[in-house]
């Protein structure tokens, strides 16, 4: 007899339905033959032993027949123990233990030998597939909260017997509790806690308003990391669909997904591997830090310590908003619409340009340190500011504006950009040319090219930043003052 149950797999961060088809031969054979086809990996082949034991432990017979399970689409590589539960349900239906109609569910879960169900990752994806199909979704009860983020009809089960009861309508299964939807993690750093640093505060506000990538340079202990951590707090709230995308990316990375309004903040260490940052890994690719920071902030502390080749590979994904990963048999696109914030010391010892502590680096080592940063990556930062060490007077003084106040200004500025159709970060040369500029801007920029060595690309960077500064002020035409401030904010390094 033939039966099928649907499950789900993640391709990149997109959930895709996987049909689990089971066929049991009509005639009893001498020996049990149990095959799983459809590009299963080793852990799925092991499902045969788990499924057989669980079915027997649940009190059903496991007759010696020729049993074939196919995971469709057959060309999509599949991995993990999540298909145990749908395989068991399909096999039981093929044996005639359960009625065919009862397998109209989306199921996901790993089986123990005693028949109990363990939650696996991918619950959110299964929930999303279930929601699209209008079917109930059955997952291990530990994974109920994650699957419930999808908003679909999800049921938690504790054992295979429980799952059969839910499928046949004898038991409703565990329903998600009302507060299962996660709340926002507390803000990383509120701007109100940051003393002094007036220029850097202005820079992160402008960066947030236009989505510009930001480079902070300064001595150790100046507060670069704290400023970067304040960035998500002044970005506008995520919309519900954006929040679900963020949760999916986290779920795909095997992390507990959180649906909240705050944009994510990721700060990988400079010793992280390229796969950990870009995504990848053997077999089915998992998203890296770039994707976990999708729609949020990727913070690279000690930028110069990151391997140059890694920084070079970051350029294209940051520009395009996608990381493309190709592996044998599968290629996926992970989203990475990130805002990059990076911090660096001005020199290896960190004190170059400090008024109080002398720099102990040789000029040669400073040059070498700078060359690692220079080049095309540096060009991606519209804003580069110096973060000086804060003096005692400022530490004793009051903190600045709280994040919420800045966030409202940022949201207004982003609203204006939304009307124009694109974030200022993504404005190309032609789009910039088409915007209204005050009459003295051209002369100003020409002088800057002449005297400050501004490059053609720098010309565009300054105009993008100037447009954002004008947006923050609500000005329709970007004036000379806006361009001058943008010039000053493009400064360090």
């Amino acid at each position: 007899m033939f039966a099928s149950v649907t499950s789900a797999a993640l391709v990149g961060v997109r959930p895709r339905p996987v049909r689990v088809e089971a066929h049991a031969g009509e005639i009893a054979t001498d020996r049990l033959t149990f095959n799983i086809v459809g590009l299963p990996d080793a852990s799925i082949r092991e499902a045969r032993q788990r499924v057989q034991s669980a079915i027997i432990a649940t009190g059903h017979r496991f007759p010696s027949r020729r049993i074939t399970v196919n995971l469709a689409p057959a060309d999509l590589p599949k991995a993990g123990s999540a298909y145990d539960l749908p395989i068991a349900l399909g096999v039981l239906a093929a044996f005639g233990v359960m009625p065919m109609a009862s397998t109209e569910v989306i199921a996901l879960g790993e089986l123990a030998l005693d028949g109990s169900v363990r939650a696996v990752r991918g619950g959110l994806a299964a929930g999303i597939v279930a929601g699209r199909r209008g079917l109930p979704c059955i997952v291990g009860s530990d994974g109920l909260a994650e699957a419930a983020l999808s908003g679909a009809d999800v049921r938690g089960v504790t054992s295979l017997a429980h799952a059969i009861a839910v499928c046949t309508g004898r038991d409703p299964g565990e329903l998600p509790s009302g507060d299962a939807v996660a709340v926002d993690p507390p803000l990383q750093v509120d701007l109100a806690a940051i003393r002094g640093q007036a220029t850097a505060r202005r820079a992160i506000e402008v960066a947030a308003a236009g989505g510009h990538h930001l480079l902070l340079a300064g001595p150790p202990g100046a507060g670069k990391t704290m400023l970067a951590r304040a960035m998500p707090g002044i970005l506008p709230d995520l919309t519900p669909s954006e929040a679900l995308e963020v949760a999916q990316a986290h779920a795909a990375g095997g992390r507990p997904p959180v649906v909240g309004k705050r944009p994510p903040f990721r700060s990988p260490h400079h010793s992280a591997t390229p796969a950990a940052i870009l995504g990848g890994g053997s077999g089915v690719p998992v998203p890296g830090e770039l994707t976990l920071a999708d729609r949020g902030v990727l913070f690279l502390d000690e930028l110069a310590e990151f391997p140059t080749h890694l920084l070079d590979t970051l350029r294209q994904p940051i520009e395009e908003g996608w990381v493309h990963i190709a592996r044998k048999g599968i290629s996926v696109d992970f989203p990475c619409r990130i805002q990059l914030v990076a911090a660096t010391n001005p020199c290896p010892c960190g004190y170059l340009g400090d008024l109080r502590v002398p720099c102990r680096c040789s000029p040669h080592s400073v040059d070498r340190y700078r060359t690692r940063l220079s080049g095309p990556l540096l060009d991606r930062f519209d804003l580069r500011v110096t973060v000086p060490r804060v003096g005692a007077a400022q530490l004793l003084g009051l903190g600045g504006e709280p994040s919420a106040v800045v966030r409202s200004r940022v949201a207004t500025a982003r609203g204006l950009q939304h009307h124009r159709g694109t974030l200022n970060r993504s404005l190309g040369r032609e789009a910039l040319d088409g915007l209204p500029w005050a009459s003295n801007v051209g002369r100003l920029l020409a002088t800057a090219m002449d005297r400050l060595g501004l490059t053609a690309r720098g010309w565009d960077r300054v105009r993008r930043t100037a447009r954002t500064i004008a947006d923050l002020q609500g000005a329709a035409v970007a004036s000379g003052d806006h361009v001058e401030e943008a010039l000053a904010l493009r400064g360090a390094l």
Partner: protein, 364 residues
Amino acid sequence: MSREHRLELAFLGLHPARTASLVERHGSAGAVVRLARRGRLEGVDPGRVRGAADCRGALERAGCRAVFDGEPGYPAVLGDLGDPPDVLFVRGVLPETPGVAVVGTRRCTGYGRRLAAACGRAIAAAGWPLVSGLARGIDGAAHRGTIEACGVGVVVLGSGSDVVYPAEHRDLHDALLATGGGVITEYPPGTRPNGWRFPPRNRIISGLSAAVVVVEAAVTGGALVTAMRAGEQGRVLFAVPGDVDREASVGCNLLIRDGAIPVLGADDLVEGLSLVLGPPLRTIRQEVVADAPDGVDRAVLAAARQPVAPDDLAAALGLPVPTVLAAVARLELGGRLSADEGLLLARDRPPPSSVSPAGGVPGR
């Protein structure tokens, strides 16, 4: 001694002290070259001893000329050295009048770099040739100051004139030649910048100068040795004072204690130098900016007489950060303010008519 033999001897590229003692022992340059050809000089490959015509060809390819001691064009001031180089290889201009040497450590601080550039500008503006070594740090900063003020910069290399070391100062080297300066060395073209070639080179730097300005020098290091030898040669020593606990200033402070003249600023240096070199050859050119800066710009300039971070500037003036940043960019574009490593500094003293004296910071 024939010029051919002297040229051939110089092309051996030996340590200048060894060359001098060989000539003294064997009587003439020709005798030494003959010994070298016969393989009788330790460390000299007889096959690589070049003939005079070959030497002249190499000079032509390197774009330089040879100037012999005792002939017209050889700087008379070098006669003060006990061991003047017999031949100088010169590209560009070899000034006949004594210049001012600016020396200091390669491992300088931002303070040193700033002061070196200011001294370089002041010396150049007064019309005196500035002599230095093209090294990283103080040397490079001083020469950049020379170029900014359109002065004459003289470089004394520790390598052949076709070997620019450090390589990142190639642009500086070319700019100095293009603006009427000179590049001088006693080593033949193709000579690598070995460490032992620099101390003899330093005697030429001080030799070409009537005064030596030490901007930053640690207790250990070539700069202080150069300064002390310059003192022995009868050169007037100037030193820029610095923090007593800063390594890079200890050498300068020691020199001042032992009688060097402290440099209290660029103008003070010019005043002091004019006692040694006579009045400035050019009148000091104050760059007058056509449009006088308005309120905010003026306040920013006045507050940036000392290096200052934009944050502190905004706090001191009580102005919003965007306003201050816009003013900073405007002044930077006008060439009145420089931003280096995040610190702002007003350039040159503004004309007296446009800015009130220090302390009188006008309002907005």
